[in-house]
Subunit: 241 residues, 2 copies
């Protein structure tokens, strides 16, 4: 399936304005302002100025919250988003409810406590973000994330991402009914199902340093029709398949 | 992945000589000669004249066996191949070791006895054969079948086929290691992994008439690389991905 750009010129616009560039602008801007966010349950709150508001929006981190404050814009970041800015991009500090800045390990433990699968989810999130894929929550499609080639205002999400780990059979896609239900759903919303299997390679999750030892196996799953593949031979050779 | 034709002109040759046509020639020829094969353990032996030798070869059923007989050519058919000619194409009779022609139900029971997963394998085999895919045993790739767009002399096999059924967890691809091993193997031999999940929909396998009630869900699984999908954007749009 090809990327579905939103209207004419969207692709050119995306190519001219690479996500890697936008993210590094955001990174240096947050560094300069010595930005600090606040833990708040399962999300992280960050107050920024106009310039950073624009950068956070263009880089697609978090969502703005309407407040009474005129001079500041608040953003609500998901756990993976916040930890990515803090631990991977090193451009955000995060303070706990006690207003003291947490170190990486404490932050990791806090997030693990709030979200059991956080280590796997974070590995998957950072794995794709580092490759400049834009990730948003996949809740409305019943998956873990949706992945965009560029900003959602320019392109539809291409992949419905499910994060799998070896741990037990509690996970997704263990039974065929779930499997096919998910594949069909993805097809109906023109997304490809992308499975990221996070393998901890025997390393635990006691600290974020374990992340380097995790590996990620990716595969896409697509419904297949015997007729289509034969009749449209030409079409399929042109990549329309 | 596109079909990999064997040398120039192979594709044109295949298009000019559709498999459906070849198979129906074989069908009428076997009907005319009132062909009868013999059960022999896990395979079925068929003796044919020169014309049918050529048709069986072109339609890619069974493999020729060298014998001392000058006037006849013997073919060794797999269980699915033989049952397809007998039950689905109705152009072959099959006699048991007692030399009496077996009816469909007895034949079905015999084959089930020889091969526990025969009902699922046959459903998968016939499902693809009816769509004019050519199937050969997949043993050498550690899969159930390999599927060709046309005769193996013209094109490389495109799909490595694994047949899955709901029954128990004894089946393939239940653990990630097996899953990834299979996907990687398929990649290394330039085949796409095609999973056919045969659902008996609660109907047993007491007689071949159950086959009509079975349904088949197909999906392909492909390894995915985050870089490739982004960097080669153009290439992937041309279907090279």
């Amino acid at each position: 399936m090809r990327p579905r750009w939103k209207g004419k010129g969207a692709e050119a616009k995306a190519l001219a304005d690479p996500m890697s560039e936008i993210v590094s602008q955001l990174q240096s801007s947050l560094l300069q302002s010595n930005a600090c966010a606040l833990l708040s349950g399962c999300s992280v709150l960050l107050a920024v100025e106009t310039e950073q508001t624009e950068l956070l929006t263009r880089a697609c981190f978090g969502k703005p919250i309407i407040t009474a404050e005129k001079d500041k814009q608040w953003f609500q970041l998901g756990l993976e988003e916040a930890f990515y800015l803090c631990y991977s991009l090193k451009c955000l500090k995060i303070a706990g409810e006690d207003n003291f800045v947490k170190n990486d390990v404490d932050l990791w433990l806090y997030m693990k406590l709030k979200k059991e699968k956080f280590p796997d989810f974070y590995k998957a999130y950072s794995h794709l973000r580092m490759k400049n894929w834009v990730l948003r929550p996949g809740l409305q499609y019943g998956v873990d994330f949706v992945a965009y080639r560029h900003h959602p205002s320019l392109v539809h999400s291409e992949y419905a991402v499910i994060v799998l780990s070896e741990e037990g059979d509690a996970g997704r896609l263990r039974v065929w009914s779930d499997f096919h239900c998910t594949i069909r759903l993805c097809g109906s919303v023109a997304k490809t199902l992308l499975m990221l299997n996070v393998d901890k390679n025997g390393h635990g999750a006691i600290s974020p340093s374990c992340l380097e030892r995790y590996s990620v196996e990716e595969c896409t799953i697509t419904r297949w029709s015997p007729e289509q593949s034969r009749d449209d031979q030409k079409a399929s050779e042109n990549g329309a398949k």
